[in-house]
Amino acid sequence: MLRYTVRRLLQLVLVLFVLSLLLFIWLRSLPGGPVTALLGERATPEKREELNAVLGLDQPIIVQYFKFLGRVVQGNFGQSTGVSPGTSAVDVFITRFGATVELTVGAMIFGLALGIPLGYMAAKRRGGVLDNGYIVLSLIGIAVPVFFLAFLLKYVFAVKWGLLPPSGRQTPGIEATRVTGLFIVDGLITREWDASWDSVRHLILPWIALGTIPFAVIFRITRASVLEVQGEDFVRTAEAKGLTSKTIRNRHVLRNAMLPVITVTGLLTGLLLTGAVLTEKVFGYPGIGEALYLGFTKKDYPVIQVIILAAAAAFVIINTLVDLTYALVDPRIRAR
């Protein structure tokens, strides 16, 4: 177990190293570049060269990369040049990270809370009207572009009916104490209920829009997995023993059916990050997805580097955790 964990962590370092090199070369081959983005198309050549020298962009790319690597191991990714000039790219990431965590975790909970029970019910009534209805629902969840659904929700509930705020993370002017960077949690800790509730109201529509992705996937996996487990011999044995259907469901069917669901939950992290870029843009939500989008439009290399490396690291770490969770859920794997 320990050996396995260490090996996965070493792999992570390797992946991040290769990725940082590729990312570095790729960013420098982008058309435009930060100097044009900062000074505009019609800046004088002298000014361009001066800024190039200040940013260190006049040196050979290999020298640039090793200087970059040397700074990165000290936790310094450089200054943001476009998203919020003057602050360090890591700070930009940290302030926005909490926002995206609140968005994606909420969307994942939405997907799990809806997908697992519906998937179970659909499997129980296989071929029935309910089953087919849920399948169509989940397929539509796959087929509708996230950003279009986000627009639709925003248009109906925020613009037309005015029930919920159309954009942002918290109403400006609301007084809230910052503790963890997670606005909802902050409000609960400091007992500023109104601040918490205000954040929740801003998040309801993004949660639903983004949550359809995990919902559709988790529903389908749960349904398929429950169908498979239901046919196993041990379920028939449990039935023959005369166990109550509740015990069979909780101890025999659901517990065994959850393994594939856990795998998929890990793999969904990538999809959620992608979806977050689109959802955050529609709702003007200040998370890392929006920062990434702004980073691209303003050629903010340091910010893009931090975010993509962090996203890749999160993806690998979460999938490692998923593999470790197997052992917790399934004692057979632990024994090996």
């Binding site: 990725l19 058309p31 509708v144 627009f151 870029v277 843009k281």
Partner: protein, 311 residues
């Protein structure tokens, strides 16, 4: 002598094959199951209509999709969009062009994005997957590490990363950006299938008979590994259309306005979505239906080729 012997043997084998009850091949079996699946027919009809529309679209469109026919009425008030009227059942778009014609003609580009993005991803994935699955050893390790790095970036982020490399994005650049994230998916799927094949009895038998590596890989391993890859390809057509629409939404889509494409139309419509949502609803609805069609088709195929469903 040799020929007569082998002919006699062939006749005996044929007699044996024909004597007992006829077994059904996996393909016949899968087709039998497909025929009875309503999901399959639903998906197949949608995809069939879509392909027909993509082929004949330019001939049945009532107006030139690029001509600004409704511009005179729209120029009076800025940002106004021509409503539905005689000869223009869906009205005009932001540039005063006929929305219905653009929808009809747009089917072709949308299909091209889906098909070509899938083909590029499929070919790239097949090459990597066959390399890894056929040779094993350090080639396998190297290829799979590349695949892991590619998979560690979420697909749309990778597509965005490639999309921003092009100064003037057009349909080709969109196709390339959308297809590259699919390569590792196909590679991983094919390699997994081929690894299972490599240990199987029929490959061992072929090896024992002295068949060379090339024929073993291409006649025995690849044909037996390909069905899940084909199913995946059907689903990737749907993903590609969605990803292309997402790129358009982020402003990285095709800038070539002479060739309408549904994703691009959806991207253009976002500026006026609060005042004229119908501009977004038509292309979005079309995308949803087509993606649903390909997804249903893929799901039905997946169920049909699953040997667990054989009776």
């Amino acid at each position: 002598m040799v020929t007569t012997f082998s002919r006699a043997r062939k006749q005996r084998i044929d007699a044996l094959v024909n004597s007992g009850d006829e077994g059904s091949s996996l393909l016949q079996d899968a087709w039998a199951r497909l025929k009875g699946s309503p999901l399959f027919w639903f998906g197949a009809v949608i995809v069939g209509l879509f392909v027909v529309l993509a082929i004949i679209g330019p001939w049945i469109a009532p107006h030139d999709p690029g001509a600004q026919l409704l511009i005179d009425q729209t120029s009076r008030a800025r940002n106004s969009i021509a409503p539905a009227q005689n000869g223009f059942p869906l009205g005009g778009d932001t540039q005063g062009r006929d929305l219905l014609s653009r929808m009809i003609v747009g089917a072709r580009q949308t299909l091209l994005v889906g098909i070509f993005a899938t083909l590029i991803g499929l070919v790239g994935g097949l090459i990597l997957g066959i390399l890894a699955g056929a040779f094993g050893g350090w080639i396998d390790t190297l290829v799979m590490r590349i695949v892991d790095v590619m998979l560690s970036i979420p697909s749309l982020l990778l597509a965005i990363s490639i999309g921003v490399l092009f100064t003037n994005p057009n349909l080709t650049s969109v196709i390339i950006a959308v297809s590259i994230p699919q390569i590792p998916v196909f590679a991983r799927l094919l390699r997994g299938q081929m690894l299972a094949q490599r240990e199987s009895d029929h490959v061992l038998a072929a090896r024992a008979l002295g068949v060379k590596r090339g024929p073993i890989v291409f006649r025995h391993m690849v044909p037996n590994s390909i069905s899940p890859v084909i199913v995946q390809a059907t689903l990737v057509v749907a993903t590609s259309i969605l990803d292309a629409a997402a790129l358009s939404f982020l402003g990285l889509g095709s800038q070539d306005v002479s060739q309408p494409e549904w994703g691009q139309m959806l991207g253009e419509a976002q500026g006026s979505i609060d005042s004229h949502p119908q501009l977004a609803f038509w292309p979005a609805g079309a995308i949803i239906v087509v993606v649903l069609g390909f997804t249903l088709l893929g799901e039905a195929l997946r169920e049909a080729i699953d040997p667990k469903n054989r009776r």
